[in-house]
């Protein structure tokens, strides 16, 4: 396992998976789903809040930007617990790709009245989690995966 820094794809059997329509009505369902698993995995309430925030931002970005109102989109959330070690959350969507580096970076120390609102969600995700990784146009390798998809991975250490 230590030789595989990415999601241990050979260990899917223990993962919790939830697929929902990409609509804001389902945002709370996904955050609840991950928060409950994080609590059971031993994260303190303030850490669960941070995880919930990152999941919220990740899903809201997929719904509002990747699918941008396009009907029929889905988000698959997979949660992998490595007991006593870390929580790995992946989100899969088939919406539009984007370059995270092109999103204006939020800087909490800028001149207050010139503060731009862009990039707040990604900033919060990076603040709340230990690792945030975007992959685009990933080729599906399993029957339950789309032919190509986008994958966002969030990691939080216990």
């Amino acid at each position: 396992m230590s030789s595989r820094p990415s999601i241990p794809s050979d260990n899917q059997g223990n993962d919790a998976v939830l697929t929902v329509p990409a609509s804001l009505d389902h945002l709370r369902l996904v955050t609840n789903f991950v928060a409950q698993i994080a609590s059971r995995a031993g994260f303190a309430p303030e850490q669960v809040h941070r995880i919930e925030l990152a999941v919220d931002e990740a899903c809201a970005n997929i719904i509002l930007h990747a699918y941008a109102g396009q009907a029929g989109g889905k988000i698959t959330t997979r949660v992998h617990v490595q007991p006593g070690h870390r929580l790995v959350i992946t989100f899969i969507d088939t919406g539009k790709t984007f370059d995270p580096d092109e999103v204006p970076q939020h800087d909490p120390h800028v001149d207050l009245d010139n503060l731009k609102v862009g990039g707040l969600g990604i900033f919060l995700m990076r603040q709340a989690m230990d690792d945030v990784r975007y992959e685009f146009n990933v080729a599906g390798s399993r029957p339950d995966e789309p032919a190509t998809f986008n994958r966002l991975t969030l990691v939080k250490h216990l």
Partner: protein
């Protein structure tokens, strides 16, 4: 009505001050309710919006964005936003993004109302 977020609004007749009480969660799915409440306040000529956040348990970037743009809009009209009694989890998010240094934050609604009253009398 969306049960995730409830907003109650109080304003004395013709007062330039409105008090909004938020309870629940302010995220991408509920933020439209706050935008509506603030638009109503604009239409009524409000210059000071006192927002009681003591029962707001959660805020995400969607809520932060609306608060930031509202702050900018109301200040252009010579007014301000007065955010009161932030819960610990909301305060943590404000601290993370640097908003605690930007916004006028008050420990209680009473103190926020007092500050709003001073502002509307002096401008």
């Amino acid at each position: 009505m969306n049960a995730l977020l409830t907003i109650t609004s109080e304003r004395a007749d013709d007062s330039p001050i409105t008090l909004l009480q938020l309870a629940g969660r302010l995220d991408a799915s509920t933020v439209g309710q706050l935008e509506h409440a603030l638009a109503d306040a604009h239409a009524a000529g409000v210059r000071a919006a006192v927002i009681d956040l003591s029962r707001l348990t959660y805020v995400s970037s969607s809520g932060l964005r609306v608060l930031l743009s509202e702050r900018s809009a109301i200040r252009k009209r010579g007014g301000d936003l007065f955010l009161c009694a932030l819960s610990l989890s909301v305060r943590e998010v404000f601290d993370m993004v640097g908003f605690s240094a930007i916004f006028s934050l008050f420990d209680s609604v009473e103190v926020g109302m007092e500050a709003a009253s001073i502002l509307t009398k002096t401008r």
